[in-house]
Subunit: 212 residues, 2 copies
DNA sequence: TACGTTCTTAATCATATGCTCAAACCACTC
DNA sequence: GAGTGGTTTGAGCATATGATTAAGAACGTA
């Protein structure tokens, strides 16, 4: 009984590890079992199929991320702080391989029939979460009624995935990190525009620019 | 001899087709050969290996894109026009499946040893091309010395890939297209800020409904 | 201890893939 | 017409995968 949930957890952890560092194509029953010092038959005994194990791995990571993000979001009340948080989170996901895992699962879903809907159901809440955070951070800003949080969240998630894809391709996280660092530099400017005086609401006024 | 280049081309076209609509995992010698009404042995006779055929397919698509883009870029001189062109190009690539092909090759490169470097060599010039176009469009704009074209090009390509990934996941191109449409709406504003060119004036104008 | 349930292991099957190879085929020259 | 070089074909090999299964081990309980 304790044995069961133990190996189950070891398999999930191994699946997460394989997805992070070896990709979807390497996420086979035998390879994952080997990473868990286990037997490949256990994958099917405990999960029924390989894809169900991978979905369990995705669930595990999603739950961890969700918790981390909610904690971090507790201290965020201004758009500038949200940009800062996003940059930090992205760097973490790039380091741990969570971003790679997400990309691998989404990309792998295109080649595995039936997996698409399951992965979608696990990714959509994540972008909705980002949209909610953005909406909350916008608060009563003058732009709150102009920009569409869902649209921006969609773009941010896409940027997140695309940057991971590119940095994984050329083995250099530099450009991706530099980009988010630039975002952090611009965050105070965003705060200035979004949270500032109503004088900036006019459409004919050029926005203030600040040299970094 | 005419026979040879004929089947060679048919195989490349079939590989492009499979990558576009079925993905990297389905790009097997037998499947591609079947799409070309051909024999799987010919893949190895003409290309040596499957990945070499896939790289030839990527080369073919890259060449076509490059030519189309260079032609389209001939009429672009202002940042606003470049944004407009990018939105049109993205919509095309989403429709034809070229965006999917690119994502599949990049994602597939993570699971096929040795493919990464080859794909990278074929993607990097493409982002450099985007950077050059952006630099050219910026021209003598006051922001030309402030923003980094390479950085922005990297971000745009990442956004391109990420949006394809997401729209492929939930089978809905709507959000991606809406986002680029929003970019087109903002393009006149960007032109106002960047160039002060007489291209377009009012920022409260409804978006242009123009069919290419 | 003896029994039944749960869990684990290794062998096994059916299938698919990259790739090789010998034989057949075809267009062309002498 | 026979030979020649390039091209095509289908069978075959080694390997890998998802999934099944029967036999065995571990555990709780009577």
């Amino acid at each position: 009984m304790a044995r069961s949930s133990d190996t189950r957890q070891r398999l999930v952890d191994a699946a997460v590890d394989v997805l992070r560092h070896e990709g979807f194509a390497a996420a086979t029953a035998r390879n994952i079992a080997a990473h868990a010092d286990s037997n490949q038959g256990l994958v099917f005994y405990h999960f029924g199929s390989v894809v169900d194990l991978l979905l369990a791995a995705l669930d595990e990571v999603s739950a961890q991320r969700r918790q981390r993000y909610e904690e971090a979001l507790a201290g965020v009340h201004a758009p500038a702080e949200l940009v800062d948080l996003a940059a930090r989170v992205f760097r973490e996901d790039l380091d741990t391989g969570d971003a790679a895992l997400l990309v691998e699962m989404i990309a792998g879903a295109t080649s595995t029939p039936g997996l698409g809907a399951e992965v979608k159901a696990r990714v959509v809440p994540w972008t909705q979460f980002a949209a909610a955070a953005l909406k909350s951070a916008l608060g009563t800003s003058p732009l709150a009624g102009v920009v569409d949080p869902d649209e921006i969240a969609h773009a941010v998630v896409a940027l997140y995935l695309g940057l991971e894809l590119l940095s994984h391709l050329d083995g250099d996280r530099g450009p991706a990190l530099a980009l988010f660092e630039r975002g952090r530099q611009l965050a105070p400017l965003a705060g200035l525009i979004l949270g500032g005086s109503p004088a900036s609401a006019g459409t004919s006024n050029p926005p203030n620019k600040e040299d970094p």
